[in-house]
């Protein structure tokens, strides 16, 4: 294989990977976007309850020429109460932009801000969404 063909193969593989990731981010779930990344996530269990531990399955897809994610942090706060969770979520990378966060627990009813920090090339994009527990 010539160098030119190798480069072409690598570019094709990269393009296919991005396409696959983009298709993955069309998967069912809650979709969040920043300028550089898409995060699609689902909680386990699907319906959250106050005082019950839950996990999050997340898929991170780079947009355009953005670098693949190097890591993901997951956290949550209650902005009106000025506090976060009493538990630190652990996040495990499963490959292909997939992550599993475990150990989350919302200990109060009200508005929680769920935070995803996508790490890439020394910086992080923060994607956030509201979850209101009654």
């Amino acid at each position: 294989m010539t160098v030119r063909r190798r480069v072409a193969a690598v570019l094709l593989a990269g393009a296919l990977a991005l396409e696959a990731a983009a298709q993955g981010c069309d998967a069912p779930g809650t979709r969040l976007e920043s300028d550089r990344y898409i995060v699609v996530y689902r909680t386990r269990p699907a319906k959250l309850a106050v005082g019950e531990h839950f996990a999050i399955d997340a898929l991170v897809c780079p947009k355009g020429q953005s670098a693949p994610p190097a890591g993901l942090r997951v956290d949550a706060t209650m902005p009106e109460h000025r506090h976060g969770m009493n538990y630190r979520a652990t996040v495990a990378a499963k490959g292909g932009g997939r992550y599993v966060a475990e150990g989350l627990l919302f200990h109060m009813p009200g508005r929680w801000l769920l935070l995803f920090d996508v790490e890439a090339r020394g910086s992080a994009d923060r994607l956030a969404t509201d979850i209101v527990l009654e």
Partner: protein
């Protein structure tokens, strides 16, 4: 019944009561939704996967005997029941508990303790059996060691028989037997659940749309309930059917014990928990999946934990005076006054922004007390039934 149907029924009940001219507080739909979250009650007793004898009748019978047995203390005079007396709603009525020595904190009731996530005011233990174990070992409480507990169980034929039936025929070493004794006590404590209170009748009447039953709930308690879920914002922490979210908060109670001595509360509790060989991550948990240890694996030590104490359940609160983690407040009126006149200067500067002085009128304070009193199960101070006989074991202990 779905939540939506229950809410419609509840609103209909309140509206109908008002239309018939019965004395009733007019609750808004959001208030009704919050009220319904505090039930139904009672709820099924959960089983503890970390305790292989949770729910086991022989273990419960053994645990009941051990709970009242002062031989498990270093001086032979202190039992679990010393600080958790049935006639006092399973507390001791003292400002601060006293075992072999005086303690810094108030003894909480064990009623409904099987539903808790964390144990002790600082959450320093993560299972009911680890909490029982800690009380037995603490030199200020019962001051027992594994050899003493093992000797008591092995040398008493009635206890030894029940132990054998509950745990099988193995010959455990002293420490294993100590842990098993704690698990038997936990199995008994799990059975100490509170029954229905007047509030539960009102709450369920709302759910059914039964206006006549709802109207039997005292008007002062209804007004107090409205404050509880509304202006008071109490139900944010005293959440759900157990009236606690099971977590920890700084509510402006001083944590200075004496010059140079502080009670670090949850901050110290997490440190203690993570250093505890009997926590749910350790070898004594019977939960092979370790799923029940999720809380322990993920709990986070934060600076804001300093001076935080666990939100207590409010069920039977009228029977468990004095109040707060150090028992400094003698009556429910004192507690209501504490929140009404809250000193914001006492709150942790890094803490949450939940509390503000409620500035309640005298009538509002009385109404809130009336509501809290309506959380009382009339049978909460009844002695437990005699321990169930265990096949093959003689009924009498000593």
């Amino acid at each position: 019944m779905t939540a939506a149907r229950a809410l419609v029924g509840a609103i209909a009940a309140v509206a109908a009561a008002a239309a018939w001219g019965q004395e009733s507080v007019s609750f808004t739909p959001p208030e009704v939704a919050l009220i319904l979250r505090h039930g139904p009650w009672p709820q099924p007793a959960p089983r503890d996967p970390s305790n292989r004898v949770s729910g086991n009748p022989a273990a419960i019978a053994l645990g009941q005997r051990l709970f009242f047995d002062a031989r498990l203390s270093a001086n032979g005079a202190v039992a679990c029941a010393t600080c958790h007396a049935p006639a006092k709603a399973w507390t001791d009525g003292r400002r601060q508990a006293a075992g072999l020595a005086s303690l810094d904190r108030n003894a909480p009731s064990i009623l409904d303790a099987g539903r808790l996530r964390w144990f002790s005011w600082d959450g320093g233990t993560d299972s009911l059996w680890a909490q029982a174990l800690r009380a037995m070992l603490d030199p200020r409480e019962m001051g027992a060691g594994a050899p003493l507990v093992a000797k008591v169980v092995r040398s008493d034929p009635a206890l030894e028989c029940r132990y054998r039936v509950a745990f099988g025929g193995s010959q455990p070493d002293d420490e294993r037997l100590l842990v098993d004794a704690a698990k038997a006590i936990a199995a008994f404590v799990e059975t100490r659940t509170s029954g229905r209170a007047p509030f539960d009748e009102f709450r369920d009447a709302l759910t059914r749309g039964d206006r006549e039953a709802a109207a039997r709930y005292p008007l002062a308690a209804q007004r107090g309930l409205q404050l509880f879920v509304g202006k008071g914002n109490c139900s944010v922490c005293h959440f759900g059917a157990s009236f606690t979210n099971g977590e920890f908060h700084d509510v402006g109670v001083p944590f200075m014990l004496a010059p140079g001595r502080v009670d670090a509360g949850r901050h110290g509790g997490i440190k203690r928990l993570l250093a505890d060989p009997y926590n749910l991550l350790g070898k004594y948990s019977d939960d092979q999946s370790r799923a029940s240890a999720t809380k322990t694996r993920h709990v986070e030590l934060q600076h804001a934990n300093f001076g935080q104490f666990k939100t207590p359940s409010l069920r039977n609160v009228a029977l468990t005076a004095p109040y707060m983690h150090d028992g400094r407040l003698a009556t429910l009126r004192d507690v209501v006054r504490h929140y009404s006149e809250l000193d914001l200067e006492r709150l942790h500067t890094h803490g949450e922004q939940l509390l503000r002085p409620l500035k309640l009128s005298d009538r509002e304070s009385e109404d809130l007390v009336a509501f809290l009193e309506s959380l009382t199960d009339p049978r909460a101070t009844a002695p437990p039934k005699a321990a169930r006989p265990v096949a093959g074991c003689k009924p009498r202990v000593r």
